[in-house]
């Protein structure tokens, strides 16, 4: 309504207005760049893992007896364990894994498409016993699951052809299949290692699952290997229960497993806990960035509040005069809110430029994620509201200035 005069009045020798404008601009730039991190990490953490993580129990066993150095003994215990686990009430499926997905630790190998000159790429893999997909709750997109005949015959730990080349059937995820076979025809094709001594034929494609490093840029690349895992140091199982059955299983499992073989240390965690552990550092960073954002808002709100307060104190008489000239209380309130709105607006406009500048600087120094427009717009709207709230109290004080102040001398 009286936009013009307010803006014109702002531009007269008001160093303080420019300072607050600068403060708002800087704050916006900082807030937005903190939020960029939070969003980036949030989107990584909330990604679909492709697994039924809420209902999967991770069983670590660490043998403490030298008996386990004997391969036959080891595989005997593994088979017994798998039978025992599968027989527990509420258990859908159990599989031995040599490493645990989402855990931040795993194995990877280099593979290229057989007969192509594409580069070798890194592929995280898991040695698994049967029913891995069922245990993970991952979906087979095409082809078939691993079968008993895919595994080395009893007493052997490898499958080799006459030339001594290692040959296995494997499952891979769609994401990895498309990297090596961009035409989408990976099923039935083979991948080989660098020197051609190990060849794997893709017999099934998994729709989607994460590997041990879910936030990495190859987080959905997985190869499942039909090789029975387990060493004298450790054996790991994943056990999938019916929804809600995990706690009941965990309560009794250690005891029953120790009955089969007492010479080991057993640790139980849920796959969800494993994931949370892997993300704990990211969660901590999100909290820190969030805290910095809150503090920035606090400081800048103080600044806006301070400015508006002075602006009111300094103009008490002017407010009285305006009231005398017919301004209603609402008009006075509006005046100060519009003034803050304009200052915040100018600050936010400047801040938009600074936000992009800082983002680029941080990207070059510390590889920060890119700033997206919707985030910036959200930041601007939120900031505008915060600014108005900070100015509300002083504006209400202005509103209560009585008109009689106009005739008071001094």
């Amino acid at each position: 309504m009286e936009f013009g005069p307010i803006v014109r009045s702002l531009f007269h020798n008001k160093t303080r207005f420019w300072l607050v404008t600068l403060e708002i601009a800087l704050t916006l730039a900082l807030v937005i760049n903190c939020a960029v991190y939070i969003l980036d990490m949030g989107s990584k953490m909330n990604r679909d893992t492709g697994m039924d993580i809420e209902n999967i129990l991770v069983v670590h066993t660490e043998p403490v007896s030298p008996d386990f150095k004997d391969e036959t003994f080891l595989s005997q215990v593994r088979d017994e364990d798998l039978r025992l686990l599968a027989a527990q009430p509420g258990v859908l499926s159990a599989t031995a894994f040599h490493q645990i997905p989402l855990s931040g630790s795993g194995s990877s190998a280099g593979r290229r498409a057989e007969g192509s000159d594409l580069n070798t790429i890194v592929i995280p893999y898991y040695l698994v016993t049967m029913n891995a997909l069922r245990t993970l709750g991952a979906e087979l997109e095409s082809g078939r699951d691993l079968m008993a005949s895919d595994y080395p015959p009893a007493g052997q730990d490898d499958i080799r052809d006459d030339d001594g080349v290692q040959r296995f059937n494997v499952l891979v995820t769609r994401s990895f299949a498309d990297k090596l076979f961009p035409d989408g025809d990976a099923l039935g094709k083979a991948v080989v290692n660098n020197d051609g001594t190990s060849v794997q034929t893709i017999v099934g494609i998994i729709k989607h699952m994460n590997n041990s490093w879910p936030t990495s840029d190859f987080g959905s690349d997985v190869m499942l290997f039909p090789l029975k895992p387990g060493t004298a140091e450790r054996m790991r199982y994943l056990v999938r229960t019916r929804p809600g059955g995990l706690d009941a299983l965990a309560a009794t499992l250690e005891e029953s497993m120790l009955t089969t073989n007492p010479d080991r240390i057993i640790t139980l965690t849920s796959l969800a806990e494993v994931r949370d552990d892997t993300f704990s550092e990211d969660v901590a960073l999100v909290k820190i960035f969030g805290g910095v954002i809150v503090l920035l808002f606090v400081v800048t709100s103080l600044g806006i509040f301070g400015l508006a307060s002075f602006s009111v104190t300094e103009r008490t008489r002017q407010i009285g005069t305006r009231r005398a000239l017919g301004a209603t209380r609402a008009a006075i309130l509006r005046y100060f809110l519009i003034e803050t709105w304009v200052i915040t607006g100018i600050g936010l406009t400047l801040g938009t430029g600074m936000a992009f500048g800082l983002n680029m600087a941080l990207a070059s120094i510390a590889d920060s994620p890119r700033l997206e427009l919707p985030l910036l717009l959200t930041g601007i709207v939120v900031f505008w509201l915060v600014g108005m709230l900070a100015a509300l109290l002083p504006a209400m004080r202005a509103m209560m200035v009585p008109p009689v102040l106009a005739t008071r001398t001094v």
């Binding site: 160093t15 607050v20 800087l26 660490e62 910095v292 920035l296 600044g303 400015l307 941080l362």
Partner: protein, 437 residues
């Protein structure tokens, strides 16, 4: 005069306590946030053994795949660990003052006390020079002997906590401990020791505690102890026996040397290259000669001990302080100019511009000092929060350095923020506000 200025400044602060509080809170937040992150990043990037800063070297040799570099993204870098055979060889000469090769494993300890369950202990396999190289303090006994290293005797060094757990903290030197299927004799017990980061091996978690048990590394050959850290391999091998791994191109061993003189450095570099060229004759080391003795600080940088996010937070926190200072300028300007009539009177009564300027600058510095103190308190809270969130021990102390740095930062911020408002207020002409309006 100074005390009068101080008094005037103090009165003026007291006159509007709410506003003064606002200003102090503003500056305290700025100092709190910035000193928190400055301290955190400083602690993380501190050299773990400053007295050996330029004498301690991590050895890296390029024994990798002739077809492609160890890391496509770092084509000029040799691998970050070494093969068993190379590590063994390059630490067997007599050029370095101290040298060791080592890896991390997990072994099962079987307590004598039958009520205690066997447990997995983090174990480091290394040579006895490890303790001199990294200046490990001992509470009882000391490192095992050279002979014990050479003969792979069953001796060990316990860390302080494990000695407390197994032997009630007593002098356990000479007593035995059952690990896996063997009896070991305690050679020494370490005093509490926690380098931050755990710079001698940062591969898995650079902020974890040192291992609980230290054993002579050559025991690996007979006990067939697999590593529990990172390992990588570019060349497949048939693993029928443990010895196959030791002879393979698998990299999983860390190698450190202490080189005190330039001569030692030159000699050792030449020694490494000669070794690599010698190996090349046997069909290994086919990549271009690229062997590093890397200074600890550079090695820590390569290992990203200070994460990228920490640098971002450091920059953001310093800009946060700028925001707080700008905020301070704005509020001080308002506070001072609102006082114009009083300044007019003071000027009329003979206060010079300089006096008025000093009075106000002093007021700013009082605010800054109070804000700085409060900010240091906040930064202790902030550092505790960071330690709790990341489950690390920054081992920070609110010492003279930190207090000094925080207060200096606060006073400089106060000076920078206060100069303009103080200048503006001292330029107020005495006459203007004396007339009745």
């Amino acid at each position: 005069m100074f005390s009068y200025l101080l008094l005037t400044a103090w009165r003026s602060l007291k006159r509007n306590p709410f506003l003064s509080l606002l200003v102090v809170v503003g500056i305290a937040l700025g100092i709190g946030v910035s000193t928190t992150f400055v301290t955190a990043v400083y602690r993380l990037s501190l050299h773990p053994v400053p007295e050996k800063e330029d004498r301690l070297f991590y050895v890296r040799m390029d024994s990798w795949n002739p077809e492609r570099p160890w890391r496509d993204s770092l084509p000029d870098d040799p691998p970050d660990q070494m093969t068993w055979r190379d590590a063994l060889e390059v630490t067997s000469g007599d050029i370095p003052t101290h040298q060791t090769f080592m890896y991390k494993a997990e072994l099962t300890v079987h307590p004598e006390d039958k009520d205690m369950r066997p447990f997995r202990a983090s174990t480091r396999l290394c040579t006895n020079d490890f303790f001199a190289l990294f200046e490990v303090p001992f509470q009882y006994g000391g490192p095992w002997s050279n002979a014990a290293d050479a003969a792979a005797e069953q001796v060990l060094v316990l860390d302080h906590a494990t000695n407390a757990k197994m032997f009630g903290g007593e002098d356990s030197v000479g007593r035995t401990l059952r690990i896996e299927d063997r009896e070991f004799m305690v050679a020494g017990v370490m005093a509490p020791w926690r380098p931050i980061p755990k710079y001698y091996d940062t591969h898995n978690n650079p902020f974890e505690d040192p291992e609980e048990i230290f054993l002579p590394i050559l025991l690996s050959e007979s006990m067939e102890i697999n590593g529990a850290g990172n390992d990588s391999n570019w060349k497949g091998y048939e693993r029928n026996e443990y010895a196959d791994t030791l002879a393979s191109e698998r990299i999983w061993i860390q190698t450190w040397v202490q080189l005190d003189t330039q001569r030692q450095k030159d000699d050792y570099a030449a020694f490494l290259d000669a070794y690599a060229l010698d190996q090349r004759k046997m069909g290994r080391f086919e990549r271009p000669l690229n062997n590093w003795t890397q200074e600890t600080a550079a090695w820590m940088r390569d290992q990203h001990i200070v994460p990228a996010e920490a640098k971002t937070l450091l920059i953001i926190s310093l800009l946060f302080l700028v925001v707080c200072s700008v905020n301070l300028i704005g509020i001080l300007l308002g506070k001072f100019l609102a006082r114009a009539p009083e300044i007019g009177v003071r000027r009329a009564l003979g206060a010079s511009r300089g006096t008025i300027f000093m009075q106000h600058l002093l007021e700013c510095e009082i605010i800054a000092a109070v804000g700085g103190l409060a900010g240091l308190g906040l930064s202790v809270l902030g550092l505790w929060t960071i330690e709790a969130l990341f489950v690390i021990d920054l081992n920070f102390k609110l010492d003279l350095n930190m207090v000094g740095a925080g207060m200096l930062l606060a006073l400089v911020a106060g000076l920078l923020a206060g100069t303009y408002p103080a200048y503006r207020v001292c330029r107020i002409p005495p006459a203007q506000y004396l007339k009745a309006q």
